[in-house]
Symmetry: C2
């Protein structure tokens, strides 16, 4: 479903080059529940961004849903991201002027879903992440962990095939983190949703069926 | 050194009122290493903001360094925050156009420190948090955990009397988190720096000498 072959990613800063990813080979099948672990700065977010087609490799090949992403037009890539992928950002990336409800609803508007269906889905999703009392709050009227949960709700509300979750429990207490993981485990079992986590949280690692360790841009085998 | 008496904090959202803090009594002495724990949304960040004089209670009294903060002028409050308090924000709040070095240096400029001394302190601090190779990176050229460490370096570089740390290890792997806690423990032992953490991380709780649990705006005793 997703495959990376000899993928590298370089960033340039003035004269220096940062080798964020140094030759990644990775295969991910449908329905997997995978965790990517490694020290701060080791390349986890970079890798997730490439898989999610939010960024492109410096070299190497990435296939998503059996398509070489470097050969897709912007329009097709955009559709792939909206219809197939749900992304939970490490920094949440919520829209400041929209409420928790509106932020969560946004991807469904892009999909052209009708109002009645959107309302049902958004309410249920926000309830699943424990935020039904906070639907009218904007991000700056929410706690850190509440913002994280809006980011989670927004990524899951389209019922995507692939969920890329960048440190989804970082700002959550143990109990809330477990509730989120149980929700994701259920989606994985019921819909065969593929989950790829980047995490420092041992609870997430325990839920994962496969763990890849990344250090300094390489996956340790 | 810090005392809160019957402190409440209300937020208004349209017609509804959110009671973020519901009568907090708390005494913190110099040199303490305290952790504040509780579920997402329970009031931890709100409490830290009040102690750090970044916000004011709806009712109740807050004393910092034996002064009633509601009686201080803006100028005195500002000096209190700059000279005495170091704040590590849950969302980092780095200045996007400044590099890691410049973000860390900023509080020393406010203190009017000379260039040679600033240079020595900033370099040492960024080295302590493992970022000497990243001093020229701006926030958007850093990983989540690297940004968190810049926020930490910036809060500690003035060698403040009181450090308010809002989830300082949330985006760090275990090893890096421990290194940060060891640094803070050393400052606490050498300088009697007072540390107040809000955290979901059991590692931080283990380092703390006192733990307060907060649920729904109240401290459980
Ligand atoms: N500006 C605001 N307007 C309305 N409600 C607010 C505002 N800021 C915070 N709140 C609410 O106050 C409560 C406490 O928020 P706070 O940020 O202190 O929680 P927290 O314990 O730090 O949570 P977390 O662990 O998720 O960071 C939350 O329920 C939040 O929704
Ligand atoms: N735009 C950029 N320019 C230069 N270097 C960058 C840029 N973005 C990321 N980097 C560097 O690439 C490396 C990998 O970053 P990445 O965000 O993937 O790490 P990470 O494993 O997610 O870390 P964390 O656990 O701290 O979130 C880091 O050393 C970072 O400084
Ligand atoms: Mg990251
Ligand atoms: Mg908080």
């Amino acid at each position: 479903m997703i495959s990376l072959k000899d993928v590298t990613k370089e960033y340039r800063l003035g004269k220096s080059v940062i080798n964020a990813l140094r030759g990644i080979d990775l295969e991910i099948n449908e329905g997997e529940f995978i965790s990517l672990c490694g020290p701060s700065g080791s390349g986890k977010s970079t890798l997730l961004n490439l898989i999610g087609c939010l960024d492109f490799p410096t070299s190497g090949k990435i296939m998503v849903m059996d398509k070489d992403v470097s050969e897709l037009s912007d329009a097709v890539l955009s559709r792939l991201r909206n219809n197939t992928i749900g992304f939970i950002f490490q920094m949440f990336n919520l829209i400041p002027v929209l409420t928790a409800y509106e932020n969560t609803e946004y991807p469904l508007l892009i999909l052209g879903m009708n109002r009645k269906e959107r309302q049902a889905r958004v309410s249920r999703m926000l309830d699943e992440v424990g935020l039904s009392k906070f639907i009218k709050h904007k991000p700056d009227e929410l706690s850190g962990g509440q913002r994280q949960r809006v980011a989670i709700a927004r990524a899951l509300v389209t019922n995507p095939k692939i969920v890329l979750a960048d440190e989804p429990t970082a700002n959550l207490d143990s109990q809330t983190g477990i509730e989120i993981l149980e929700l994701m485990k259920m989606m994985n079992e019921e819909h065969k949703t593929t989950f790829i986590f980047s995490t420092h949280d041992q609870k997430v690692v325990r839920y994962a069926k496969k763990v890849y360790n990344i250090t300094d841009g390489r996956i340790n085998s």
